[in-house]
């Protein structure tokens, strides 16, 4: 168009319109930058968290081991009762042969055996119990070293600090260096972190008890909150009459979702442990407590998912003569399932990371074996992190970070499943 104005009488090229356009464009760019900035800051925070966790936690993913030839002296072992042998003495003898120059003195010998983890004797005992024929032979073992030596090997103990401030004295360092020069020191992947239960000794401490405890707690939580939550949501959304009472229930459920988790812990302590006398520290009770918190989340998510099913589908089913129940279970619920599952997984992920209520029902007890049933005492991942973070031993610093990384991995996995489900079952109508 050559003419400045068109037949509508509006001048698209006028300076006032141009400046209006410019303003609109500018505010759009500003909004975009603001969004980008917010994402960048969030991303930086996340990176900071991960970097700090990885930089302290990676030490815990390996564990220094000592490779030694152990003579399974029949003098200290009874083939009939391999469990009752004097393994401590066998280890002392082993270390003595490793350091023939060290004087045969109780204190010196204790120093040598303290290079080994306290768990070394159990490693040997387990092997002998498995195969008592080994008694009398010399067998090679790869046993974890004690935490302080592990720290030394990982360069976390500075040999330049004055001896009196150091946790390892010069002669102890020299002994370790000797073993290292012989090539007896290895640093394999720390599988014990996942396969051992908790221990007082950092080099032996693992997350198995916590993982199993968390699994049982989440399972209980899921089995309770999923059917109950869906049932309640279906009733409220599809069948309940809309009146004062249902409004009141709705408001209360929304409030329940916002109640601090510590309150649920107190409730569980008073009701489950106090009135019903359920066992302390049991993952089953932990799961029940977590279910109290997850229930409103699942109800809200389910109701939203049910509401999102287009009314046309309901009408279609009703119009061919389906009953209300057939409409809900045959059409609405299947279509709402992805939303429900996503909400449930997010609720469970929240429950997995929840600490406070579990502390209150005693799931922060020191327990050195993994629970074999949901009713045995156990810890959970977050409470285990809490315990380790509270422990004075240096080895627990990196193990705390490692445990957090394990927890984060599970959370990421659960959220990934939620996203996968959402995309897989993306609304198809």
């Amino acid at each position: 168009m050559t003419d400045q104005t068109n037949n509508t009488g509006f001048d698209w090229a006028s300076p006032s319109f141009q400046s209006h356009m410019k303003k609109r464009r500018r505010s759009q760019i500003q909004l975009k930058l603001l969004g980008l900035g917010a994402i960048a800051i969030a991303f930086m925070m996340l990176m900071l968290l991960i970097t700090s966790l990885v930089s302290t936690g990676y030490h815990a993913f390996t564990q220094t081991h000592l490779k030694v030839e152990v003579f399974l002296d029949p003098e200290h072992l009874d083939p009939a009762k391999p469990a009752r042998g004097n393994y401590r003495q066998i280890l002392t003898d082993t270390m003595k042969t490793q350091f023939p120059d060290v004087p045969d003195d109780r204190a010196e010998l204790r120093k040598l055996t303290s290079i080994l983890s306290n768990g070394a004797q159990f490693t040997i005992r387990d092997r002998v119990m498995e195969n008592p024929d080994l008694i009398g032979e010399t067998v090679q073992f790869n046993v974890p070293v004690a935490d302080t030596y592990d720290q030394l090997n990982k360069g976390l103990i500075d040999p330049d600090t004055p001896e009196e401030y150091r946790r390892l004295k010069n002669d102890e360092i020299a002994n370790f260096e000797l073993l290292k020069d012989r090539g007896a020191i290895t640093e394999p992947l720390n599988t014990a972190l996942l396969t051992n239960a908790d221990s007082r000794f950092p080099e032996l401490a693992g997350l198995k008890g916590a993982l199993v405890g968390s699994f049982y707690a989440l399972l209980t939580c899921f089995l309770l909150s999923f059917p109950l939550g869906i049932g309640a949501a279906i009733y409220l959304e599809e069948f309940a009459p809309r009146n004062r009472v249902s409004d009141l229930i709705e408001i209360n459920i929304n409030n329940l979702a916002a109640v601090p988790s510590v309150v649920f812990g107190l409730l569980a302590l008073a009701v489950f442990l106090g009135w019903f006398g359920m066992p302390r520290s049991a993952p089953f009770v932990g799961g029940m407590t977590l279910a109290l918190m997850t229930l409103p989340t699942i109800i809200i998510a389910t109701r939203a998912a049910l509401k999102a099913v287009p009314p046309s589908i309901r009408e279609a089913a009703l119009a061919v003569g389906a009953s209300k129940q057939q409409v809900v279970f045959g059409h609405v619920l299947p279509l709402a399932m992805p939303g429900i599952l996503t909400g449930t997984i997010i609720g469970l992920a929240q429950a997995l990371g929840e600490t406070a209520p579990l502390l209150l029902i005693g799931m922060n007890a020191f327990i050195t074996s993994a629970p074999s049933t949901p009713f045995d005492s156990a810890t959970a991942l977050p409470t285990q992190i809490f315990i380790w973070a509270d422990s004075p031993e240096r080895g627990f610093v990196s193990r705390t970070s490692a445990a957090i990384l394990v927890l984060l991995t599970f959370l990421i996995m659960m959220n990934a499943i939620a996203i996968f489900l959402r995309q897989k079952f993306e609304r198809k109508w």
Binding site: R242, P310, S312, I313, R314, E315, A316, A317, L318, A319, V320, G321, A322, S323, Q326, H331, L335, K428, W429
Partner: protein, 267 residues
Amino acid sequence: MTMFDVTKPETAVDQTDIKIAASNVQVFYGDTQAIKDVDVDIQDKTVTAFIGPSGCGKSTFLRCLNRMNDTIDSCRVEGRILLDEQDIYAPQVDPVQLRAKVGMVFQKPNPFPKSIYDNVAYGPKIHGMARTKGELDEVVEKSLRRAALWEEVKDRLDTPGTGLSGGQQQRLCIARAVATRPEVLLMDEPCSALDPIATAQVEELIDELKQRFSVVIVTHSMQQAARVSQKTAFFHLGNLVEYDDTNTIFTNPQDPRTESYITGRIG
């Protein structure tokens, strides 16, 4: 003679049977009245068209006939509607069973997100109309043939019904509605999403369906009303203004509002 082609010969079927008799029907949404004092007798084996400007209550009245309005909390229906001399709002009537007898096709195609086969088979299945898989297959094929869709989909009955084109979806919905062998078929603007070819197919189908059913169709197209229906009801602001033979309505309307509407002055 008007611009509408109403010279179609009247069908020879007996049209005096009254299928649905509505008298003194009032419908309220909360406090606002959407339908006022409507009396209408819908004949068996006849196509009845509801016409009228947008918002005049055509859909509302149509939905009274199979009690779909029950699903709207705020909606209240008064008056009497008899289906085969039986009050459909009587307490002993089960709306679920009623809706199997009075089928409905909606303005927007709404197939279930299931396979084409399952879409059509759903009604017969829940009503226990087919005892064997073979019987069910037969019902599905017959219904799809009636809806003029069989040839297009017979090789992909297990693909999702939502994957069809809009017009095919609407015909699928019609097949689904006729599969339960209803006695009355209510159609709320069934062709508003269809192209002229699909529209022609649906109209042909309606013409065929009236051999067995009583068909009530809401439409905004007066050409369509003139083409497919034998009776026409004109609604205006919740009132049934005029109800007569389609021929009469389009050639010799009694009410000035009807005349203004069909000549395009209101609506």
